[in-house]
Symmetry: C2
DNA sequence: CCCAAGATTGGATCGTCAATCCAAAACGCT
DNA sequence: AGCGTTTTGGATTGACGATCCAATCTTGGG
């Protein structure tokens, strides 16, 4: 076989740096979700090779973490100030929520590593505001943890679903239509050929906005078909689900939280 | 190469069924986390081939979802009855928390698909208990959603961390030996210097129980080294962190929630 | 200006994985 | 027994993360 020295492309002149790589990774992630961040895609986008990338980055995990830190750092810089504590808490929580909503992949990443330095400022803000709310020290720790967990949990879940809906995959998960093998056990139906295409690469919905509505409508449809005797609450909730808004419901949850926290005050 | 008809192993006689496969998958998942569920491992454990598995299961996602459904179905069957509503809510939440704690991989899976039928009973229980608490219909929907999100969020995060600590991987992460050249730094990061090794995968403790404590101690160590002027709350929280217990803090969060929900009552 | 040591880069290569494919083996029915 | 159908085993494909090494640039000492 021909000498493996087969005339390689000339070396780039513009410096490749960790920042450049991380930014390219963020772009890929924003465009196509976690599954779009592959070493191959990165090397193509940067028109470089594997070695160059790995020279600046230890790992794919390193890259993902760096990208998440980067996004969060930018977001948290725009802090909410001057409002009364409850309002400020809402603002901080919403800030993180919106950030993760805008970059769904960040949610999954942060959920996996909630003690990353990038979140320190978030903890700190929450803790201070709780202090301002006269929550005693011991309870403050629990309350802050719970609130952070709530925000990250909700955001991560919305992210996972948004990602799934738009054809991006949080990790795996091929979109999957509204219904599906609820019938498993016994003996899977003899063919299931017809869906089978839901599988692979997903048809990404015609539109992201209407896609979300369609998805919710599908779930609501299923829920409303449940036996009202056996599932009275879920059956009823189906109607709410149709008019449901992620952000509103998130805020409602935060408010419940704040109301609960208010009971912890020690004057 | 010998004719590809190279004498294949005799066909098994005990029937291979979807149940058997799912159960084997659960075993693998419980033993080694998500990363341990590979088609290879599955075929080896079942001493069968790829074709056989894919004949009963459409996808790896399908398999994972089925496994999660299975575990949850078993857990939720042991419902809490007879207690007063708040106590029952605590019981339901704890039940799900403990289940996910025992099977960390379920947390990640459910977080990604919170509307799976397996969770219907959970929603239903929560909704009914909220009804018993005299929460008006509209608020009930928000409250139930928030509570479910909280439980799933916390459980998923604990799961992710437990998984990371014990060497199981929540999603990616190539196992990789304990140490490694994290020093690939070159320049970058004048800030956030002290951590940087929190980065990757932390030293996994020798033992699962003490491992958790070590991990928390490590984070507490970092936090306590922060500038108390810049991060008063986090710095102070470090001491709490050392004596922190996941389950207790989870319950504290649930209680805050319940206190907040109590303010929604309409008599 | 020149050249060697080191830093940086490109891409071939390896091992693993999910998924597909097809023929062999067992089964079921007459 | 004979034949179509279901079930099974395993080779194969293609994508990925990671590693490796030679080619290429940069730097600084002379």
């Amino acid at each position: 076989m021909a000498k493996r020295t087969a005339k390689r492309a000339p070396r780039r002149t513009d410096g490749l740096s960790r920042e450049v790589i991380v930014q390219a990774a963020i772009d890929l992630l924003d465009e196509g979700g976690v599954s779009a961040l592959t070493l191959r895609a990165l090397t193509i986008r940067l028109s470089t090779g594997y070695g160059a990338v790995y020279h600046h980055v230890t790992d794919k995990n390193d890259l993902l973490a760096a990208a998440a830190d980067d996004v969060i750092a930018r977001v948290l810089s725009g802090a909410v100030v001057g409002a009364d504590p409850p309002e400020a808490l809402r603002g901080v929580a919403l800030g993180l929520f919106d950030a993760i909503d805008a970059h769904p992949w960040v949610g999954a990443e942060l959920s996996r590593q909630p003690w990353r330095p990038a979140l320190l400022d978030f903890y700190e803000s929450v803790g201070r505001l709780l202090h301002a709310l006269a929550v005693p020290e011991r309870a403050r720790f629990d309350a802050a943890g719970a609130l952070v967990n709530y925000v990250l949990g909700v955001a991560a879940q919305n992210a996972a679903q948004n990602a799934a809906r738009t054809g991006r995959r949080p990790a795996r998960d091929p979109d999957q239509g509204p219904d599906r093998d609820t019938d498993r056990d016994t003996d899977r139906d003899p063919d299931q050929g017809p869906d089978r295409d839901t599988d692979r690469d997903t048809d990404r919905g015609p539109d992201q906005e209407t896609g979300r509505a369609d998805f919710l409508a599908g779930v609501a449809e299923q829920w409303s078909e449940l036996d009202p005797g056996r599932y009275p609450f879920v059956h009823e909730a189906a109607t709410r689900l149709r008019e449901h808004d992620d952000r509103d419901q998130f805020l409602a949850g935060v408010d419940i939280f704040l109301a609960g926290i208010a009971t912890l005050r020690r004057p």
